[in-house]
């Protein structure tokens, strides 16, 4: 954690009033500091990871020699048939499970079986119903031990920025599905861990809200450039958002291919009708078959 920033937020009496831009700069500084702390160019590196679970009769192999990496500031998607063990992979990266073989390192440091190194956004928003939206959004930093009051002021700036102004004191059940996902994404974005794991965050939304949220995410991500590993079932979503896509096979999952997505940023929705985009989409479809 950047000490200078800490001091500033703690002792500056004008802190409450400072602008959105400053809040963003502060976050970016923090992230850069963290990235600079390690010399590795990789935010995440997974090396030959195997995993199996005890089934009814025999052990079921879920992951078979998975290797992948996410460079710093890169948006990487995992595409694969459902039930191919993508969520298991997230649990391994997050430290909830230990792989049977292989290594997982985050910013150059092995983190096998260790929690507290990633910011995570689960499939359902999983906002805490007894917390207001602003208190939900600060949860990641609160766990890291920062004071609630200073965090709330920061959260309010951010909520304004992501279109949740006026909902700071609302409870999650008062928000629509899309708004809940925005809050859940903000909770992950404000977490003090640089690498973000997003587990099918839009799968429960209707098609219209979903494309809204994709646009929103692309824009927000392009402004902040965090390292992201993103699980999705939608090829279009993966192509629109990512710098690279890993296509996984059915269970036991292994990497079929890594594909770079060459489109320039900022990306906008027009991309969806670009001929090259359509060609890539067909390529991925062929790989998934």
């Amino acid at each position: 954690m950047n000490m200078q920033n800490e001091d500033k937020t703690k002792f500056n009496p004008n802190y409450e009033g400072d602008g959105q831009q400053q809040a963003q700069e502060r976050l970016q500084q923090q992230m850069q500091q963290r990235a600079a702390d390690s010399s590795s160019p990789l935010a995440l590196h997974i090396d030959q990871v195997d995993m199996s679970f005890k089934g009814a009769k025999e052990r079921v192999q879920v992951l078979d020699g998975i290797s992948l990496s996410v460079r710093k500031g890169e948006f990487v998607s995992l595409l694969g048939p459902s039930g191919s063990g993508k969520s298991t992979l997230f649990h391994l990266i997050g430290g909830l499970l230990k792989p049977e073989a292989g290594d997982i390192s985050i910013h150059g440091k092995s983190v096998v079986g260790e929690t507290g190194h990633v910011s995570y956004m689960p499939q359902q928003a999983a906002l805490f119903p007894w917390r207001t939206i602003e208190d939900n959004v600060i949860l990641g930093q609160e766990i890291a031990g920062r004071g609630k009051r200073e965090l709330r002021a920061e959260a309010r700036e951010w909520l304004r920025n992501v279109g949740l102004e006026g909902y700071e004191r609302a409870y999650p059940h008062m928000l629509s599905g899309g708004m809940q996902q925005r809050a859940a994404f903000l909770r992950a974005l404000l977490s003090p861990h640089e690498l973000m794991l997003l587990d099918e965050p839009f799968s429960a939304l209707d098609a219209l809200t979903r494309s809204d949220m994709q646009r929103w995410l692309v824009e927000l991500w392009e402004r902040h450039r965090r390292s992201v590993l993103f699980i999705t079932h939608s090829i279009e979503e993966a192509l629109l958002l990512s710098d690279a896509i890993y296509v996984l096979s059915a269970r036991p999952a292994s990497v079929v291919q890594r594909m770079d997505v060459p489109f320039a940023r900022p990306r906008r929705e027009e991309l969806l009708s670009n001929p090259q985009f359509l060609r890539l989409k067909q390529d991925v479809q062929a790989l998934l078959r």
């Binding site: 649990h91 997050g94 430290g95 909830l96 929690t115 507290g116 190194h117 990633v118 910011s119 995570y120 689960p122 499939q123 359902q124 999983a126 805490f128 119903p129 007894w130 949860l139 990641g140 609160e142 766990i143 890291a144 409870y171 999650p172 059940h173 008062m174 977490s191 861990h193 794991l197």
Partner: protein, 257 residues
């Protein structure tokens, strides 16, 4: 708002009134003796004439109930919270708690009186024991049934055991904790009444016993009404606290609007 209240309270109120009228009519038409079955008006008259001594007895019972309930719930909550984070002990103790729920706790009272004498102590212990089980079990269930997604989120974020408990498991367990408290509240009034049947000189239970010896059925009905009222008041007091504390529930129906 008022209208909705009327719709809610109206039908049961009418049903109770009808029942009372039928009761009154039967008693006077068949000329039933007062010591067999007093009419509702007899009971009300008796309650009014006798209110001063009734108040004293009611107060004694209420105090006994609240002290027993308070101690029992405090211990119940504490035991659940201490057992919860230690899976081995929890698994060892949980079946014991379930089995011991089948012990008729009230039947322990004579035994407790041998050990602790005729004072308030054995009665408080019995009420506390009666409250303890439902609260412990409901709280432990609530604590162990935490939402998996939220739990995964907290753990991946690196939350400590204490943070998990205070920020997730405890608030998540509040609803089931309160259903335990409400069950225990109903039990505690009943147990206080029965405890007062044995060796006291005050309380509604004692009053009932006196009136039984005198064949004053009307006064026994008064005692029953008071016990019911005590139970209802305690239940609603807990429900009131529950609604204040669990403010995020009950508005779920507006989710999809």
């Amino acid at each position: 708002m008022l209208r909705r209240k009327m719709v809610q309270v109206g039908p049961p109120l009418v049903a109770v009134l009808l029942l009372l009228i039928v009761w009154q009519v039967i008693v006077s038409v068949f000329d039933i003796e007062k010591w067999m079955l007093p009419s509702p008006s007899d009971i009300v008259r008796e309650a009014i004439n006798n209110w001063e001594s009734l108040l004293g007895h009611t107060w004694a019972t209420l105090k006994l109930t609240l002290v027993g309930f308070g101690i029992g719930s405090a211990i119940g909550l504490l035991v659940a919270m201490v057992l919860h984070p230690i899976p081995i002990i929890r698994r060892a103790v949980y079946p014991l708690i379930i089995i011991s729920q089948n012990v008729p706790t009230i039947a322990l009272l004579p035994l407790l009186m041998i050990w602790f004498g005729f004072g308030l102590l054995p009665k408080i212990i019995v009420i506390a024991l009666v409250c303890f089980f439902p609260i412990t079990i409901a709280t432990m269930d609530g604590l162990s049934r935490t939402d998996r997604m939220m739990l995964n989120y907290m753990r991946m974020a690196g939350a400590s055991r204490m943070q998990l408990f205070w920020k997730l498991e405890l608030p998540h367990a509040l609803p089931s904790m309160f259903s335990g408290l409400k069950i225990a509240a109903a039990y505690s009034v009943m147990s206080a009444l029965v405890a007062e049947w044995i060796g006291t000189d005050k309380g509604i239970g004692h009053y009932m016993l006196l009136q039984q010896a005198a064949y004053r059925t009307d006064r026994m009905f008064v005692a029953i009404v008071i016990v019911v009222l005590l139970g209802v008041i305690l239940f609603h007091a807990i429900q009131f606290i529950e609604r204040k504390l669990i403010h995020w529930q009950g508005q779920r129906s507006t989710d999809e609007e």
